[in-house]
Symmetry: C2
Subunit: 133 residues, 2 copies
């Protein structure tokens, strides 16, 4: 398949695909005239790349990881990199969950401004004491 078809199937732009190749995380055959050709497996590969990007990993890291995915093994020092990124992801999740809880609080407070659950509302006395939900 050529680049446009892959882009359509994987849900990314052709620019992105060329960028991935530039970064060494996606390879292609070439027709005699120089057009890129991809195997069907490239669709899954691109989706995997997208997933790693979504996890906050950069091109460099992904370029390190993908060969391990393919080979099924890795050098010890590379494994350390993998573990480090795994830890980063875990930490990111924790951060997100914490921020999510904070946001939930704000939403809860915003939706149901109940003074009972909101001590600091009394610090800024407004006309809310006359408001009845």
């Amino acid at each position: 398949m050529r680049i446009g078809e892959l882009a359509g199937k994987a849900g990314v732009s052709t620019r992105a695909l060329r960028y991935y190749e530039e970064q060494g995380i996606l390879s292609s055959e070439r027709t005699p005239s120089g057009q890129r050709l991809y195997a069907d497996s490239a669709v899954d590969r691109v989706r995997l790349i997208q997933q790693f990007y979504a996890a906050g990993l950069g091109s460099r890291t992904i370029a390190t990881i993908l060969p391990c995915v393919d080979a099924g093994h890795a050098e010890p020092e590379v494994i350390e990199v993998l573990r480090a990124d795994r830890a980063r992801i875990t930490a990111s999740i924790a951060q997100l969950e914490e921020a999510g809880r904070k946001l939930d609080q704000v939403i809860e407070l915003a939706v149901r401004p109940d003074p009972e659950h909101c001590p600091h509302l009394r610090e800024h006395p407004t006309d809310r004491n006359r408001a009845s939900v």
Copy 2:
């Protein structure tokens, strides 16, 4: 406290603090000579801002959220924004968890290249059949 002290206590750069003010998410008093002065509470405020940034929220969004945090209530349309961001965070967490699982697989495979758990290893026969963990 002045900007340097706040930066130290909150663990960010002075540039970041000025940027926050520029974005309208952090306010300060000024000395007659124009230097910024912050209350002790600014430390927590900056940490909260950092947390929201870490959650992938942008300055604009944070500028929308913070007044709600302070006021303890919000307009219905703002609440929708909050919910939307909450959903984004939830989705991000799911993405991260999925990527984390993928990475775990890779690590597991890399650490213990056991053909039993790794069918595709046989597609690329190497000398691993003589390797003993």
